[in-house]
């Protein structure tokens, strides 16, 4: 089972690096959807690895997670892209080449850092924790370096994926109510963000966050 978990981790890294160099918004949305779906298998895999059987709880969380990340979020974001009529992220604050280089450096740093952490034995393999940190960093990098509102939502989802990786891999037995609450909050957050993007595109005729900056201290 550890082999499969490691394979999921490999997918996580691959999607992160692909996200850092994609400029097409639709590609970004499908990449993060794919990443989320891959992660949806983690609760079951880690649970099996740990307890030797497949728990109903893990299956339920996994299925909800896959449905949200693989179906609901991409549909919502695609709708926003369609309505706002944007295709690409043009001239991000940080260029794609530098993003990739920063990403690879962050990957190395995450692996190095994790050697000093006292990671509980129940974790699904040794890769999960560093890969979770790398994913969180990738999400933060996308949020801060891209200009389109939709790409920022994608970055937020990547960051959440990183946090979920950490949670799923390290603590397979978190209280069910809490997991459900977190997923519900995430759903509403993405929903509200989607609505806001529609309003932004209707009010400004674009969703370029760097160009809506009238507020501030003079």
């Amino acid at each position: 089972m550890v082999g499969i978990i490691d394979f999921v981790m490999f997918l996580l890294v691959a999607t992160n690096l692909a996200l850092l160099e994609s400029s097409r918004l639709k590609t970004c949305i499908w990449l993060v959807a794919f990443q989320g779906m891959a992660l949806g298998f983690l609760p079951v895999l880690v649970g099996y690895n740990h307890a030797g059987s497949i728990g109903l709880h893990a299956v339920f969380v996994g299925v909800i997670s896959i449905l949200l990340q693989g179906v609901v979020f991409p549909l919502l974001l695609m709708l926003a892209v369609h309505r706002a009529n944007v295709r690409r992220e043009i001239e991000p604050f940080v260029s794609y080449n530098i993003s990739i280089i920063t990403g690879v450096a962050a990957l190395a740093a995450s692996i190095w850092l994790s050697r000093f952490l006292n990671i509980p034995a129940s974790a699904g393999g040794t890769l999960a924790v560093p890969m979770a940190f790398f994913t969180i960093f990738t999400g933060l990098l996308i949020i801060t370096s891209r200009k389109k509102a939709i790409t920022q939502v994608v970055g937020y989802l990547v960051m959440e994926n990183g946090i979920f990786t950490f949670g799923f891999a390290v603590m397979p037995h978190a209280p069910f109510v809490v997991e459900l609450g977190i997923l519900l909050d995430l759903l509403v957050a993405v929903f509200v963000m989607g609505i806001m993007i529609l309003h932004i595109s209707a009010t400004f005729d674009h969703i370029d966050v760097s160009r809506i900056s009238t507020l501030g201290d003079e």
Partner: protein, 489 residues
């Protein structure tokens, strides 16, 4: 009882969406606010709850009480405010602010979001479980984002987007902190993870120190973003200056406190695990930096709503500082939270009244409030002295208590910085606020605002004064209990 406190506003929110009559919807929000306050007072002492999930301890009760009182004031104000706004909907050409014409969000959704906000705040105050607390605080963000975008123009949209994104990222970091906390409690031989506060406090001596410290740092940064601690405060001035005044009042008076609750819970676990010095030092310096950043921006501020917003950053800094100092500090900080919420709620509502008269948020364009509206002018003046912490108002007592804690703890440098920053903020706030009250009024748009927009402000001003003169026994008792939970004496 606690379940009722959470459920009633949520059900009322649903009813508000379905209702057609504006009049009945306003009665509903008033009724819910009254019932909420009544039930909150009834829950004092023993509120029941669900073991390991919901319950009211000292800190939770203090914050719930503030929230409930402030929400009632906001509900009364809202009935007058919404009636005045209704006349302007759909937009007419005179419905302007800084030369922008705009429409409003449907009142049903606005009311529903306000009520949902109350429900989520109550849940945050009563949560005895780190996971549930996170869910509740994230839910407050989602309930308030539409509220900030009540006036549908491009500036409020920008503020709402910034608020949603920055808070969500901050809260996501707090979730990571929560998970670190869970990891610190994991043992090789046990698989079940309980996220309840009581279990953490009990298991505190056996927690893994490294993960615990990491957890506190992430909780502080994550919830600190929501609380408006510098340098994570970027969303706060925009959101407070662009949202309607009652929303600003509730954001400053209720929501910032509830975000602090997240940090306070982390501190409780750290103290129980013997890591209090580490956590407190962080709180002290985040507090000082917040005060300093706020002072700099207040000194250069011409927008009076932004000025009030930066003042909230300052007071959240004082709250963190007081908690970090220990000794009498945590008690002072709790008293400070109560006084600040009441005073800031009053000032934001007054700012709304002034904005309605002058149609400008620039302090330069406002003059002679005392001539146009003596009541608003007088209260604004009282508010200035109250928020600056001069006697005989409540903030004076709490600021002196925190100063005493700093000196008793031997932190002379911190005490000196604290006094200098307080003085700078006072200078920065006094000159524009005094100029607004005096002088000859220019162009104004006096409206017949209903007494509902004055009465709650006057009552809050009375409470701010009362807190400085006399602290009732039960309040003192509960504040001391909250202070003890935070590691004070």
């Amino acid at each position: 009882m606690i379940s009722l406190l959470i459920a009633i506003p949520a059900i009322a929110a649903l009813a508000a969406v379905l209702m057609k009559s504006h009049l009945w919807r306003r009665r509903l929000i008033m009724g819910t606010a009254l019932l909420h306050l009544f039930l909150t007072l009834a829950a004092m002492g023993d509120g029941g709850g669900i073991e390991g999930w919901l319950g009211l301890d000292g800190i939770g009760f203090v914050f719930l009480g503030i929230t409930s009182i402030l929400f009632l004031a906001a509900a009364v104000y809202a009935t007058g405010y919404l009636a005045a706004e209704e006349e302007k909907h759909p937009p007419r050409s005179d419905f302007i602010e800084s030369k922008t014409v705009f429409a409003n969000m449907p009142e049903a959704i606005f009311t529903a979001c306000l009520l949902l906000f109350l429900s989520t705040l109550t849940l945050a105050c009563a949560a005895q479980n780190f996971g549930l607390l996170w869910v509740a605080i994230e839910a407050t963000t989602l309930a308030t984002t539409p509220l900030i975008y009540y006036h549908r123009h491009h500036r409020s949209l920008e503020a709402a987007w910034k608020y949603l994104l920055v808070s969500s990222v901050g809260i996501a970091l707090a979730l990571l902190g929560t998970m670190f906390l869970a990891v610190s409690a994991m043992h090789p031989d046990s698989v079940e993870v309980s996220m309840s506060l009581a279990d953490f406090l009990q298991a505190a001596p056996r927690l893994d120190t490294m993960w615990l410290k990491g957890a506190f740092i992430f909780l502080l940064i994550g919830y600190g973003t929501k609380m408006g601690l510098a340098p994570m405060h970027a969303w706060l001035p925009d959101a407070h200056s662009e949202s309607p005044s009652i929303v600003s009042a509730l954001l400053s008076g209720a929501q910032l406190n509830c975000a602090f609750l997240g940090i306070a819970r982390g501190l409780q676990v750290c103290s129980a695990a013997g890591q209090a010095p580490f956590a407190r030092e962080l709180l002290i310096w985040f507090g000082i930096v917040s005060m300093a950043v706020a002072a700099v921006f207040i000194l250069a501020q011409t927008d009076y709503k932004r000025m009030l917003a930066y003042s909230s950053v300052e007071h959240m800094g004082i709250l963190a500082l007081g908690t970090g100092l220990g000794g009498a500090g945590p008690f002072g900080a709790m008293l400070h939270a109560v006084s600040h919420s009441i005073t800031k709620g009053m000032l934001f509502m007054l700012a709304g009244n002034i904005l309605a008269i002058y149609k400008s948020k620039s302090a330069h364009e406002v003059a002679g409030i005392l001539k146009i509206s003596p009541v608003n002018g007088g209260l604004w003046l009282a508010g200035l002295f109250a928020i600056a912490g001069s006697p005989p108002f409540g903030l004076f007592i709490s600021e002196i208590t925190i100063l005493r804690a700093a000196l008793e703890g031997g932190r002379t440098a911190v005490a000196a910085l604290y006094l200098i920053l307080l003085a700078l903020v006072f200078i920065g706030m006094a000159s524009p606020m005094l100029a607004m009250v005096s002088g000859q009024p220019g162009k104004t748009h006096p409206e017949n605002r209903s007494p509902a927009t004055i009465i709650p402000v006057a009552v809050l001003a009375g409470l701010a004064l009362l807190l400085g003169l006399w602290l009732p026994g039960p309040l003192l008792h509960i504040l001391h209990e909250a202070g003890r939970l935070l590691g004070g004496s």
